[in-house]
Symmetry: C2
Subunit: 722 residues, 2 copies
């Protein structure tokens, strides 16, 4: 393995040769005993060393009074002691040159400031001495490949270590993690790694994801996340994982208001806006799941050699009703239950009775289950040869097919030879959910997933993932163009809200088209500017103290003459003064009046977790009404900008709704990339930016209004990531 | 019981005293033997009579050579014979004055025209002779209360008849029905009735729903539906069921395009547009479910004495992560995870350690499960006293609570005394999903439902149902106002598409505000009309042959002078003639030019299944882009019209988006009711009506354009319902 510095430092934690159990005990109900016994029962492939002040031997293993007394190197120390003894334990680890430790004890950052301070100190100490840590306040970790059961959790101790491996799981919730571990094992998926990260004093969620990306035995990476502490790292990892075709499935909680309130208090970490997480996951090909069941189903379905080639899915059933229900579910989740070609239908028709339906969903009728198992084979053979079919779902197979049936052998051989995704999704009934032939099917790459929603949901996510892998592979590695035309620093006064003219000046520096404009200090100047721009013009107050110009009645549209311009100047100034007597008025901005077009909103802000984020929406008032907006994390690639527009329902308007000509989407993409660049270059100073409306035409685009908020003070800026 | 004619005729089918098995057999693998044995094993509470040409006795029961030979009255005959023998069998039934029959045989309408004809003939024959039938092409029926297992389905025969009863189930899919029956039984819900309706030669889905509404033992009615054959009856039944507080849960398939294509071929029935079904269910308080699991979960949760008082839901958990996940799910499904009042929080805080979280979701911490079970009691006691809490969800209970634990006894007593909905929704793990105390909890009205999505989904639907019951109860039984001002018959030429002016004339007859207008045959007349209306005016071609006036360039807006009017007349006529040389041109319609306002669309059409349906949407072009429309089936009550607007996302625009004044919603409701009345009165003749745009102001409303399509020929009109 090609370990680099960083994740390889987690090797002693997950693949130790020697483990010392600090606080090992002979007393059955103590954690120190349960932990020791777990390592013995798990047949840990290495040395287990109990540490006990007086005992010579515990559970048949030679015991030592302290770490110092152990005559060999120690890779991992499991702390079965309470929080008051952690510090001394770490000092002993440092002396003995121990590489890693698991700390279960609670009483740290989750309890308040004092605990947080102690935790920070211990973390710093461990870092100085090169000790990698998991915890505190965690359930521990398991590596089912080498028998390392580094946990006292009674629930995990009782789960036998068999089933399909290749799935790593890392959880920020101990209890939920244990439940997921058990559920997966019950459904035939045994995680190769299980890690409860607890308070993440040292090693975090991201660190373990990184480890698994580089671990050849891990095919699917999954986890439970309440909030990332290292978003920049997660970005890089997501890209590496895509390159390696290792899906990352994340159950991120805190989607709802109540959930995110609770998540913030539960982990003590800043949860960030869930919408931005959602955008981030989508942008970086991380698969977001709603519950642990999706992880299990996806893991069963996933085969890196057979990624779905598209959405076209065929359902084969012996029950018409079941087929319809499955078709509804597939289409509801974005799969395509396509009509079959006439050739394929004819081919199937040949081997089926007349009363069967060869339309998708294909209804073989109950006879197929009982008296005519060959119908299943007929359908499969025809479908694997149809290039328009991507995925094939069976809802059942013949009762009579048992291991050793020649027809079944032919069936699995045909399935295995095909590159299509083929699955059996049986009804979740006891005695029916997992037929006896399940192991044979799975051996031949036919995933058997029982359930109503889960199997189809997993297929839909697998199809989306596969698309993402393709996009990622095809992404051209071109240089990012430089959009900056001029420095903006001197325009960004800390803590200020820029007036529209000032904000537009910033946009100009990045080549974003703005209106012709100038600020007039008196009426005559206003008239001159209007003449030089050409009538009609728009006149607005220019003042960072009056962001809501309409409310102040300090805008005049469609000014067509010198006289109107003169009057407008006086009115606008008067109304602005009346509205806010203490406001600093720069004057009246005189601007070209833009013809009407499609209104787009582009915004950006500095997210607490992910840094600069760009937002877009289409349709003026309707953006608010339909909440039809989408986000991408900066920097945006061209593909990101395209995807952003594609995610908007309002894209129909851009494409030319009701027979209108399509607008200049290229121009919008250009502005998105320029805003991304502006935000990236100035993430220390720009807090918020709003271009609203940005008016798009059949050809061309122009920002009709803009607003920009500058950070209070650079020293206050949070450093993002790490 | 207060049986009326109709559903009571199904009594012999579901509560027979004597059953004859036609085609009874001694041969183990024949249906005639399996059916006979099923009745014996099911301990049918009545006489079982085998009919066999030669046998004297089968399975210990006296056998007769024919129905005629049976010396007693026969309530039900189960036909265990194939389709060629059905006719003779029915004739024998008629002779013997048999009241009902079950016919399993296939080979009828599902096979094509010949089978359909035979089926119709047999159905008519049975009707003439007063024989109620279930089938053909069905799995049969079961009444678990009297041991009537009227089916040969091996799957059903193996399911023991215990578990919670009170749920009736009727299915248009045999196979899916059986799977649902088994799944329910495995999860502790035993249907009291199970009916597979097959081809519905006589008794239909709706007939059995009616039976169950009047059956005192049935508390929840559920079913699987591909298409209703009696929509009018279903409407009435839905209302009766609401009055009786008996929820009807329907799993209607064919939601997707592929699914509805398959449903149409599967049952041979017209599936109708799924969107209209959806609207119909919502309007009539029928609960639509996506899968059978919802039926089971809902049935467990439903208690007519404890309907939810609202959406406010509190989650109590021992795992922070699990609580957050559940909160996300609740809010995602429309429940409200409200913040608790300070009083309630203080009350709970008193009995919990400091590190526990008293915010909703309440995290009692793992200690509650293991060492401190009293935490659960503390939380429950505080919550039942908080009037702002409607529903209480526990995700777990202490390990140590067993039947006989005094603390558990107190817990269930507190829960039982409360009117709030209280449930235990455990993680779906073997050995954890249904704790040993489940029967005790259920006995005290604490529903125990294990699963991830299901329990919360059931609660959300129960809350919605409860709201519907309240609305229904509160609905005032006022007389429907008469909107018709004049007859429209002479305006509705069969097969015609009415021009805008003609369509507007129809609207006038129902008092729907339209523009001032008149049709001019020449330019001078156009000028006169414009003067009498007052400038500015709009001029449009009036021709039923040119419905797309913009495309024909045959509209002129904002005509402000006599000269413009004269020119506009010539241009409009010329363009219309060029666009469609063979069109009949009535002339140019001169209309008042409406000031701008909010654009609403109101449409109506005659649905194949449900008859006239009214549709509404807000926002001009945006209606199409965002597909933000909703439907109600005619006739609309005032509440229906209000709900229709409430279902639109665009309602924000009506309420005054971006600081604008709200528009005249009353005026929209008035038009909706008038359109409903127009469609109801003329359902034989109006095929489609479109008022687009209908312009709404702060005060008042006006139809700016209208289109109306008249049915081809009255004799072609399908008779709806029955």
């Amino acid at each position: 393995m090609n370990y680099e510095v960083g994740y390889e430092s987690l090797n002693p934690l997950l693949k130790p040769r020697t483990i010392a159990v600090l606080g090992a005990s002979e007393s059955r109900h103590k954690i120190g005993n349960m932990q020791l016994q777990a390592l013995i029962d798990g047949k840990f492939q290495g040395e287990i060393i109990p540490i006990h002040p007086t005992a010579k031997e515990i559970s048949g293993l030679t015991s030592y009074p302290s770490l110092e007394d152990v005559p060999m190197e120690i890779d991992l120390v499991i702390f079965c002691v309470n929080y008051s003894q952690i510090k001394n334990g770490l000092v002993a680890c440092a002396k003995k040159n121990v590489k890693s430790a698991i700390i279960f004890a609670s009483g740290f950052s989750e309890t308040g400031e004092a605990g947080e301070k102690l935790q920070r100190e211990l973390g710093d100490y461990a870092k100085q001495h090169g000790i990698r840590l998991v915890g505190p306040n965690c359930v521990g970790l398991v590596n089912t490949s080498n028998g390392l059961i580094g946990t006292f959790s009674p629930a995990i101790l009782n789960v036998p270590m068999n089933g399909k491996k290749g799935v790593g799981y890392v959880s920020q919730s101990g209890a939920f993690g244990v439940l997921t571990y058990m559920a997966a094992a019950q459904q035939g998926v045994m995680f190769n790694y299980f890690i409860s990260t607890g308070n993440e004093m040292d090693a975090t969620f991201e660190d373990f994801v990184e480890y698994m990306i580089h671990d050849d035995d891990t095919k699917v990476i999954s986890g439970y996340l309440e909030g990332t502490k290292k978003p920049e790292k997660l970005k890089l990892l997501a890209q590496q994982a895509l390159t390696k075709k290792k899906p990352i499935l994340v159950m991120k909680t805190g989607r709802s208001d109540a959930g995110s309130r609770a998540a913030a208090s539960h982990t003590g970490s800043l949860a960030g806006s869930d919408k931005i997480y959602d955008a981030f996951f989508r942008q970086y090909g991380i698969i977001r799941v709603d519950d642990y069941e999706e992880i299990i189903s996806f893991a069963k379905l996933f085969n890196p050699e057979k990624l779905p080639t598209g959405k076209n899915t065929v359902i084969i059933t012996s029950s018409g009703g079941r087929g319809i229900n499955e078709a509804d579910r597939c289409e509801g989740l974005g799969l395509n239950i396509a009509e079959l070609s006439e050739e394929t239908k004819a081919e199937i028709r040949k081997g089926l009775p007349e009363y069967a339906s060869v339309n998708n969903p294909i209804d073989l009728t109950a006879a197929a289950m009982v008296t005519n198992p060959e119908y299943y084979l007929v359908a499969l053979k025809a479908l694997v040869n149809d290039p328009k079919v991507d995925n094939i779902i069976f809802t059942d197979l013949p009762y009579a097919w048992n291991n050793g049936s020649p027809m079944l052998d032919e069936f699995v051989a045909v399935a295995k030879a095909s590159k299509k995704v083929i699955g059996l999704f049986p009804f979740p009934l006891e005695g029916m959910a997992y037929p006896p032939v399940t192991p044979l099917l799975e051996e031949h790459n036919i995933a058997v997933i029982s359930g109503t929603l889960n199997p189809v949901r997993a297929l839909a996510k697998l199809v989306a993932y596969s698309e993402h892998v393709r996009d990622h592979t095809q992404k051209e590695l071109t240089d990012t163009p430089v959009y900056k035309l001029a420095d903006v620093e001197q325009l960004l006064k800390p803590g200020s809200v820029l007036s529209e003219c000032e904000a537009s000046d910033v946009l100009d520096c990045y080549g974003i088209p703005t209106t012709k404009r100038a600020v007039a200090k008196d009426a005559e100047k206003a008239v001159q500017i209007a003449i030089s721009i050409g009538f009609p013009v728009v006149m607005k107050i220019d003042s960072s103290d009056i962001p809501h110009k309409t409310e102040a009645d300090a805008i005049r549209l469609n000014i067509v003459s010198e006289e109107e311009a003169r009057n407008a100047f006086e009115e606008v100034m008067r109304n602005a003064r009346a509205y806010n007597p203490t406001a600093v008025l720069n004057g009246v901005s005189v601007q070209e009046m833009l013809p009407s077009g499609v209104e787009v909103i582009i915004g950006a802000h500095n997210d607490d977790t992910f840094g600069p984020v760009v937002m877009a929406g289409v349709g003026g008032t309707f953006v608010e009404v339909f909440k039809d907006i989408a986000f991408k994390v900066v920097p945006l690639s061209r593909k990101d900008a395209e995807d952003l527009l594609e995610e908007l329902q309002g894209k129909a308007i851009l494409n030319g709704a009701r027979g209108k000509a399509p607008v200049d989407k290229e121009a919008i993409i250009d502005v998105l990339l320029k805003v991304s660049s502006l935000m990236e270059d100035n993430k220390q100073s720009i807090k918020e930016l709003d271009i609203n409306p940005l008016i798009v035409y059949e050809k061309g685009i122009k920002a009709a209004d803009a607003m920009l908020v500058v950070q209070e003070n650079v020293s206050e800026i949070q450093v993002i990531g790490g």
